[in-house]
């Protein structure tokens, strides 16, 4: 039942093609290699920010850090574009590495947008230095390495963390949009509506994906 739920949520954002997915302990993960990489990066960064108490941060990182984080999107775009256009074949290793490079910075933007204040001064930092970004990258890379080699990893742990990261990310993106549109809403109302929208969106996307796959097959 829970496995089906994980696959149902995963289908909302991922094609789940078996040839492009990791197998852990004999069972396919509910996400493809690229999405697994992205959400491993998201999970590790979220964990790091939570442990370092940066969850309330609202200070925009320096321009150098912004460019460094934005540059992480480029490998995924190049790999995705060239492989989808049929120019070359990608591998699961490349997919997971480029996914991690993109995903590890997403929580920084989410935390920034969540806490950023237009009226007041923003003084609480989220990320201080390149060293911190490298630590997050190394931790995510380590987790990705273990997933890729199917070493020391439990299926439930990997699948669970990835799916929780997806739900978490979508809820917060929805909350950020609602907060900017309806500025007078109270935070807990914003959160409740965001949960509703995020779950609804993932459900609709999952059903659309399932329908498309059924139609094509």
């Amino acid at each position: 039942m829970i496995t089906r739920l994980l696959f149902f949520i995963g289908r909302g954002i991922c094609h789940q093609l078996p040839s492009r997915s990791f197998i852990i302990a004999g069972q396919q993960l509910p996400l493809c290699a690229r999405c697994t990489g992205i959400y491993i990066g998201v999970f590790v960064c979220l964990l790091y920010l939570w442990l370092r108490r940066r969850w309330r941060g609202n200070l925009v990182p320096s321009l150098g850090l912004v460019i460094f984080m934005a540059a992480g999107f480029i490998p995924l775009m190049l790999d995705g574009a060239t492989s989808y256009l049929g120019l070359r074949d990608s591998s699961n290793l490349l997919r997971v590495v480029t996914g991690i490079l993109m995903g590890y910075s997403l929580p920084v933007w989410i935390v920034l947008l969540k806490n950023f204040s237009i009226k007041d001064a923003n003084t609480d930092p989220i990320i201080f230095s390149y060293k911190e970004l490298c630590i997050i990258l190394l931790l995510a890379g380590g987790m990705g390495f273990f997933v890729y080699n199917d070493v020391l990893m439990n299926w439930w742990f990997v699948a669970g963390t990835c799916i929780i990261s997806i739900v978490f990310l979508y809820i917060h993106i929805a909350a950020i949009i609602i907060k900017q549109i309806f500025t007078r809403l109270r935070p807990h109302h914003v959160f409740a509506i965001a949960v509703f929208i995020a779950i609804g969106l993932l459900t609709v996307l999952s059903i659309i994906n399932r329908t498309l796959q059924t139609l094509f097959l």
């Binding site: 954002i13 991922c14 094609h15 093609l17 925009v60 990182p61 321009l63 912004v66 460019i67 934005a70 999107f73 480029i74 775009m77 995705g80 574009a81 989808y84 997403l106 933007w109 989410i110 920034l112 947008l113 950023f116 237009i118 009226k119 993106i173 950020i176 949009i177 900017q180 996307l205 994906n209 498309l212 796959q213 094509f216 097959l217």
Partner: protein, 159 residues
């Protein structure tokens, strides 16, 4: 301004007669008042204003380098439109530009730039996620279409 020539009191524009001393035809503007007719203290003060003594230094004014917060002119609409259009129409590169530009605007002190930066960053991340979703659907479609094509080619080769 009109003064009474006799007592020096300020008169209204339409007053022909001074209500204090009762004198008539005393109307003169301040510029026309001869110095010798002014009271002594007023005359001295006027001279000090015209020729400041050593105790007063000439005031110097330095230009303000940047206007105070709140007085910065808002971001040009052309830049806003250009960035807002760039983000969705340039796949991949547009959101990247949007993220960097959004972060730069959010670092600014101006409220208009901060608001636009926040909106631009939000839109850029959303567009990037939508792009990833489209790629996912495209890959599913391409894979299925590819297999259909392979099947068709195989059938044709058999014929």
């Amino acid at each position: 301004m009109i003064f009474c020539k006799k007592c020096g009191k300020i008169l209204e524009e339409d007053q022909e007669k001074c209500p204090f001393c009762g004198d008539h035809d005393q109307e003169e503007t301040i510029k026309d008042i001869p110095k010798q007719n002014l009271p002594h203290s007023f005359d001295k003060a006027l001279e000090e204003i015209e020729q400041p003594t050593g105790s007063f230094s000439k005031p110097t004014y330095t230009p303000v380098p940047t206007p105070p917060i709140g007085m910065i002119p808002p971001l040009s609409n052309w830049i806003k439109v250009l960035l807002a259009v760039t983000v969705p129409i340039l796949p991949g590169i547009g959101p990247l530009i949007g993220i960097i530009a959004g972060a730069i605007f959010m670092s600014n002190q101006d409220e208009d730039r901060k608001t636009f930066g926040q909106a631009l960053l939000t839109v850029s991340i959303i567009v990037f996620i939508i792009l990833c979703g489209c790629c996912m659907l495209f890959s599913v479609a391409a894979q299925q279409t590819g297999s259909e094509l392979d099947r068709l080619l195989n059938n044709l080769s058999k014929l």
